[in-house]
Amino acid sequence: MTQDPNLTAPVGAAVSEGAYVPAQLPVGLRRVPSGVDEVTTEHLVVNFGPQHPSTHGVLRMIIEADGEEVVGAEMSIGYLHRGIEKLAEHRRYNALGTLMDRGDYTSGIHGELAAAMVTEKLLEIEVPEKAHWIRSLMGEVNRIASHLVWYGTFGLDAGAMGQFLYAVRDREDLLDILEAVSGSRMMFNYVRPGGVLADLPAGIDQKLRAFVDIFDVHIEEHDQLLGGNEIFQSRVHGVGVIDKQTAIGFGLTGANLRASGVGFDVRRDRPYAAYEKLDFTVPMATEGDCWARYAVRMEEMRQSVRMIRQCLDGMPEGDFTAKVPKVLRPPAGEAYAAVESPRGEWGVHLVSDGSDTPYRLRYRPPALYALQVVEAIMPGSLIADAIVTAGSVDLVLGEIDR
């Protein structure tokens, strides 16, 4: 796909066009009387999940179908509920990252970063410049890894198989890099209040450069393999349209919001880590259909590659962490910090009572809001479209259920 200049979100704040007014009840199964058109027909209520090949994780979609058409949908979640918010009340501040990793397990760095940032805000810790750059670098590495999972499973939802394994091939390289840096493939616990756990290991620079050089070629391959396919295009164009008002009303964030024509990106509009000094564009589309979300995410991966290069070139010298005490006791107060995770705005709202554990930690799950909008737009589409729509908004159940 060539870079379309119109696909770039305007710099500055986004413009909203009035509020979303719900036309009718958007949730739950709507019971339509049987016997439409004087034929005795009965609607079929089918359970998609929690054990179903196409639900991401353990989502349960209760779909009421009239033949192949969805007339009502309800999302039933909670099959992966571990009470992360409650557990956080019994963790010390520098251990919050472990919980965040287990929330959205495909983009742990971002969650750790949000938890670290909110702690730093309360403690007013000055983070060294190098730590900022490492955070941005690892964040973008993790973003590509997460988007590759989405890309692979989105294709699986559309019925294709090959692209998933090609995506996993590239993700493997990224996980190797993440493992070399943090010591773990998924549960990193790398970003800590005050900076990061350890400096970048020797030789990671060459590894990353080798990866981005080959990924420049592979991303076009991915785009051709799935997006260049005629059948795939006919499956996603005009399917699962989320218009601007709906997207704003249902609190969509991230790529889903930008695909609906609202250009808001936490990285650009409320810069954190080193994003102020990085040069990147925020891709945007206005159609709001599955294809728009696909195009925006593919372009985000290209931008991430650009940012990784810039981070490697501009990596400053210095400390990787500030001097922080072993036990952090922030003063009583409240703070909110948000990062742009691959799924959207991942916010952590922290209430401290001055002790060494948080009084209350609220974790804003972007995928939960994406799930609600899928529930609302699903009625009226075919079962096959419903699956593709749910795949296109990138749901991670670890995050939705917490």
Partner: protein, 328 residues
Amino acid sequence: MNPILVACLRVLAGLGLMLLNGVVLIYMLRKVLGHLHVRLGPMNVGWHGTVQTVADVLKLLTKEDPTPRAVDKALYFLAPAVVFIPSLAAYAALPFSKTWAMADLATGLLFTFGIMSLVPLGILMAGWSSANKWSLLGGMRAVGQQIAYEVPLLLSALPVVLMVGSLNLNDIVAAQDKLWFFIPQFPALLLFVVASLVELNQTPFDMSEAESELVAGFSSEYASMKFGLLFLSEFSNLFIMAGLTVTLFFGGWSLPFIPAQIQAGFAPIVFVAKTYLVIFFFMWIRGTFPRVRVDQLQQLGWKVLLPANLAWLLVTGVAVKLVEAVAR
């Protein structure tokens, strides 16, 4: 020799061929898909996993065979047989060489299509009797698509019949000794391959067992060898359709530029090799393409394939008449 004994031996040979084919094709599918997907496929049982399928067949044979409580017992047990028998019977007319065929039927092509069109009946039985919503949806989809595509499939084979003037598959092969029909009949070949992919429930038209939508479609509730029969008949249908493609468009068991006497010795090998090449092509499509949607499938069938088929049939008919007139 006793003609009944000969007939029995032929049926046994067909059954053996079908079972062997199933085992080989499952291995081939795994390996082809594996390598298309940058992985290796089975590697551990035997050299490069060659015995893996045998192990799997043994597993299927010895597995517990649970019957869900709510199923319609008669239909549930009958369905695998109804799916399996047509795909076995369809081997009857396939010409492996001039003399090697279970039955040399005057209407071989018609027989094969006719017997293959019984398969959706079994699939609907399986889907309906399983008392499972996914199975029901899968069975309905299978019937919808297979009945819709019977017409384009038959129509896409008709131009070849027009050129040959016979429905006997051996005659069709013999008519291709100078020119394989895929050159003059290239549009018909394309239409035939698309329609046969639908008939076979192959990706991108595998609606009836779309695993991302319907779990496993009509075969969700089947286990053990009942599932094995459904699975086996799918591969045997694949072989038959590929064999028909070879017979109609790629000269069957014949090879160009080689005298007929030399060919006769290894004609069955040529036929099977060609068929496997076509199967490889089908698997290639399976490893690459996403699935089309139900309504798109019907639109493609009725709005694109059917008019295109009729138009090409008209063109062929006119051409055949013109050639006859010129020759006279």
